[in-house]
Symmetry: C2
Subunit: 438 residues, 2 copies
Amino acid sequence: MDISTPLFVDLYELTMAQGYFLENLNGEAVFSTFVRKLPINRNFLIACGLADVVSFLENFKFSSDDIDYLKSLGIFKDEFLDFLKELRFTGDVYALREGTVFFENEPILEIKAPIIQCQLLETYVLNQIQLQTMLATKGARICSVSQDRNVVDFGSRRAHGLDAGLKAARAFYISGMNATSNVLAGKIYNIPVTGTMAHSYIQVHSNEFDAFEAFSSIYPDTVLLIDTYDIYEGVENVIKLSKKLGDKFSITGIRIDSGDIITTSKEIRKILDRAGLYSVKIIASGSLDEYKIYEIAKENVPIDGFGVGTKAIVSEDAPFLDIVYKLTEYKGEGKFKKSKGKSTIPFQKQVYRYIDGGKYREDVISIYNEVLPGDPLIIKVMENGRLRDGAVDELDVIRERVKKELSMLPDNLKKLQKSEVVYPVKFSPSLEKIRTSL
Amino acid sequence: MDISTPLFVDLYELTMAQGYFLENLNGEAVFSTFVRKLPINRNFLIACGLADVVSFLENFKFSSDDIDYLKSLGIFKDEFLDFLKELRFTGDVYALREGTVFFENEPILEIKAPIIQCQLLETYVLNQIQLQTMLATKGARICSVSQDRNVVDFGSRRAHGLDAGLKAARAFYISGMNATSNVLAGKIYNIPVTGTMAHSYIQVHSNEFDAFEAFSSIYPDTVLLIDTYDIYEGVENVIKLSKKLGDKFSITGIRIDSGDIITTSKEIRKILDRAGLYSVKIIASGSLDEYKIYEIAKENVPIDGFGVGTKAIVSEDAPFLDIVYKLTEYKGEGKFKKSKGKSTIPFQKQVYRYIDGGKYREDVISIYNEVLPGDPLIIKVMENGRLRDGAVDELDVIRERVKKELSMLPDNLKKLQKSEVVYPVKFSPSLEKIRTSL
């Protein structure tokens, strides 16, 4: 079943929509998606999820099955249901390109459309932009401390559901990871997939050496998992295999998935080197995240690659963003709310970023049509319900963008903890005037 | 696109599977799904996710598209791909009924099948059982401190993806919540959906009173959101509406979504009561979880219902389980691994639970075929790839089970923090003997 349907919506969006419909209120509105506060230990975020939102909007259509279900609820009038049945997305979308670094209060994605359409998109837009932005950011943190080591996504099994497993593979690839273990993600996104063996393979063979020999006869360049029984016997079995195979030995690595990987890999490296197996790499997995990898890199531990799983894919230290989708304009008029701690700033917006010596210096949030010096970050992605040429990027373009963005980020923002100096995000004079007047 | 396909798999499961295939190793194996350690602040877990696993197994089939993709990877031989194309699930499934309370090391779901089949199920089984068990448990914690107040799932927008949004609605309903805001979940699972208005509805009207009046003329029994501009003006507008409508006023509640909800709702209650609006209930939302709700219930704050969102749906304090899927038997022989901190105990298992004065006293994990006094908890759900009659329960049966299970749980385990007295989970004498011998 395809769950990417307009029925993935909170009921209140539909009750409000029927309200607008019956009141003949369907003027053009602007809704803005932004993060109110950066989560713990985050100094920036990386925009991700636009491609799915665009595809959702291009295919926006309630099925007759959906309409039947809505009718069964007994709260919607037939004329509204008839209207819903014909409803398509006909609006404009403005957004940061995927892979762009952004900060608190900056719009990630804004939708300008008749208010009924805008209102019905809230749940899907937030769900996807939050998940993918959170994970692209987590991935970038991990890759930025991994230096030149390989990082691979092993997380699908502990992702929150199937959708998260797939979207994570994509977001992590964008963020700089080298591959995913998830085969479906490989197929959908055309990204490299990787994986060799688990403990069970070793266990069904009569002993570990036989398992290694059997596996390497099928996959000569494979990575062998050495900690099923005893990690030191495991590495001895690898050495024994190298002696038995001689020139034909072409195992590329061993993987350690348990115990104190820092101490163990130092010892394993020595053992491998003593046996002349310099080219056999050490891959580590198990409870890895940016904090642990930072420690490993700092101590120059001889680990050549990481498989990151659970802590990465659930963004364990910050498993959600304070992300919202708010009305900011209706029929050309600025709209705001004053709810305590949850106030909003009116009008469709633009973001300008200023550079100094190759590094980002400050951002200015302006009203969309205000002209400021410099290049605006928000581009028009869809117009009248149609995708504009070149507005959605290829994955490798986004991946390159993330790399470039991170290289231009002030160093203090790359720290894994909150930077004392916050990146300056200002409001344009006209927006500042409106903001203080509220 | 339906993403519930066998291709949602880690590549290593397929490389191992090809290994077994080429080595003619396809004996009957048992893989066990269990949680190694309960997460922070958890004294029990609630089994959830079986229905999806069963449906996945019943429909297990690689599409020819999937096979083409696998072929394109260049690591699989044609005879193996032909074999995969015809592969269906033909094994047996043993599991706890959904809604059953369980503890560390107890099997939740075990699969007995030719090893190639077992191996290919790991990612899907873990992904779904972890997500749904984590959320059913979170939901049960929330409902258990909410006493008789209504609790509604508002989380979809901040769930990790679409699948998590839907599965959460189901798991939360099972756990005792009254409804979900997610319409698609309502349709799929036939559970109550709820929702009225957001701030945007208020904002597009010329003022709050007009918005309240318009909305209540369409939905007379609705809940009005009163904190768009000023919460005290908001409640005055509700009172003004009650005066204007007189006998026709039938608003059932007001909702507060910001600020200090404890202080505010006490004041709002007084204001409503002074106006004679005793029947208007107060609903609170915004950053609620079991800890906050416990505080509210303890202080007897006049809040009649809760909308729980982000912190519930991402299980913020414990966003993953240490859940694994491990080989424990091959061709009738017990299998184990000794990896540091990640060792496993061999053989297919059963769990017996003993009751004392209406409360659970202790569990004993045994080898599956060992006969112990009492009723076993693990039932045979599928046999030779087919679902057994009555093995998967209706949602309302599961919901009732959770209620009953919680009523039989020792009180110390219902605390929101770790209980000092851990629930006793023992091993049967034969299993204990094997365990200590390893």
